[in-house]
Symmetry: C2
């Protein structure tokens, strides 16, 4: 059960999130049927265009102002040996982001999305690191096998980091946000969140993360089971699930998604961890769902469970499992294609093309 | 059986097509494993990068020189009422391409692919149309229910149109080609080709095209059955299948694919008709297969059969069924992403990131 403090935080974060505008969606669908193509022949691109129009409630410009936020944090649970990589890799990869060498740097550059890297809980001294957004709440979350991943204060602080950045993103005029992360150990959190939200067993919701072998994977399943049993025995509120089995970067992502929805920004979820954060936001405020696009389906088995739970069909399905926001940014040219087609195609009437006989 | 003339044409078109270079592919895979990401975590993007390196046999530049060729022709079989749209739409859509109003115009512009529209057999006087490549062989193919779709001379001429344009594309420095088409009635050809190549029944290989209702669809299935029974009763060579149940634009596409493979150009197939052309090229010369990427999977049921037959996994699966090269061009930013990641990511050693413990 959420305590009084959690409830106060939550009330602020979810306030003012309106549903997307179904009237605009219907108008968009009418327009799509006037364009010089067989009805429905652009498939998912038509759904995406209509959803984006319903989100933005305006004639949408061809090119979005795009950004990807990568939230980085460490996880106390890595003490239990749940990852193929040492904890130090979170820190090392943050430095890699800052020196432009990671996959997300390449994709953000190629697809012209501004990249923002946020330290919300990396277990390293990064105060002097240039170009980093400094919002460290704590040097990693707590070990979920022993205690809740975050105290109430830590949760509130981490969610506020994301919410504040979401407000800033809106003020900066971004219309399309990808939500990414880096945090060794965070698939363990995402698996536990998946179990808590969907009722799936740990065995089904737990994957190999960055590449665990069979024995280490079996160990990870047992750890997720134990975490879920400890914290999520009784039906829990989304905010308590987040506090007990989440992570600092996951809480920040959840906060950002709520703020983005308030400002009618299109939110593209990335892989398993990003989608766990997005699913928590949707559980806190169901109106959030209309603002969400699943960028891709990752190889993590729990990701499929979360996407089904949310009723989201991913744009891409390329067997990726990297995180960092890579799958979300990769989907951006497809979303831009959808809007460009919506805006740029001629109508049957204007082009003098005959319509279907039937 | 191919006649002497067919064999002479074919020998010329398939000559000099070498297999892609497996040594380069292996080297590419070794390089991919040094990059700062868990092994294999970029999924299909890694396969695509390695395939492109194996095709190009060189350090591939980040940005391709891209083009999409849209081959347009009419089909004699439209006399039998196999399409939801009147035959005149082929002509009307060519004019729409030339005035920049069609879906392929929007996508080619957005993704910076040069668009070339080729009249290889439209049943209209287009000689004065500016911007069109004029290579009309005949005002539409012949009615396949009555006779072969093309005479030997017409087939040779149509294939040469594509082959010559393929040579010109290589000379112009294009490294990535999308193969698209426009031709009312051409899913009927593609279905018949699918039956002939894969042994599938007409009922399985025949879809709704641009949007047939149930009764018209049942009629189309019977027509495809009759066409296949008439022309493809005995095992036929790919070139005879193409001549009897193909179309002028399909023959041109097949010719272009063969020329592109000879010049080590990456060929992106589009939907059902484009893939039928590509499958015929691969049947004529199996080395072609290594140069092919399936841009997307269309909603046409026969497309799935052809992709399985070729062993190709599509990059995108967005429920599209438009043709024009749209699905192929839409896949281009994904291919560029794959190569940019391959070229641009830091290695573990250079970035000082720890590798996996296992």
């Amino acid at each position: 059960m959420a305590t009084e403090m959690s409830r106060v935080i939550l009330d602020q974060l979810v306030s003012g999130i309106a549903p997307v505008e179904e009237g605009w969606r219907r108008q968009a669908c009418v327009h799509l049927d006037t364009l010089t193509k067989p009805i429905g022949s652009l498939g998912r691109l038509e759904d995406l265009a209509a959803q984006i129009v319903a989100i933005r409630r305006e004639r949408v410009a061809d090119s979005f102002r795009k950004a990807v936020y990568v939230f980085a944090a460490d996880h106390g649970i890595t003490e239990e040996g749940v990852s193929a990589y040492p904890r130090a890799v979170t820190h090392q990869m943050v430095l890699n982001f800052l020196s432009e060498g990671a996959a997300i740097n390449v994709l953000a550059r190629l697809h012209r999305a501004a990249l923002h890297v946020v330290d919300v809980g990396v277990d390293a001294d990064l105060e002097q690191a240039p170009g980093l957004l400094h919002h460290k709440v704590r040097r990693g979350s707590r070990n979920m096998l022993q205690e809740a991943a975050m105290s109430e204060e830590e949760l509130a602080q981490a969610m506020s980091v994301g919410a504040t950045l979401g407000e800033e993103a809106a003020a900066a005029g971004y219309s399309l946000l990808a939500i990414g992360e880096m945090g060794i150990g965070n698939t363990t959190s995402a698996s536990a969140i998946t179990c808590a939200l969907t009722g799936a067993s740990a065995a089904i919701a737990t994957g190999r993360g960055t590449g665990l072998e069979s024995e280490a994977h079996a160990r990870k399943v047992r750890i997720v089971e134990a975490i879920v049993a400890k914290h999520c025995g009784a039906p829990s509120s989304a905010i308590e699930i987040l506090r007990c089995v989440g992570g600092l970067e996951i809480a920040a992502m959840t906060g950002m998604v709520l703020a983005a929805a308030r400002h009618r920004i299109v939110v593209v979820a990335d892989g398993f961890i990003s989608t766990a954060a997005v699913a928590l936001a949707a559980a806190m405020e169901p109106n959030v769902l209309g603002y969400l696009i699943a960028g891709h389906r990752s190889e993590e088995p729990g990701h499929r469970l979360l996407l089904d739970h949310l009723g989201l069909t991913p744009v891409l399905d390329l067997g990726m499992r990297l995180g960092e926001g890579t799958g979300a940014v990769l989907a951006m040219p497809i979303l831009e294609s959808a809007i460009s087609l919506y805006n740029g195609m001629a109508t049957f009437a204007a082009a003098g093309v005959s319509e279907a006989a039937q």
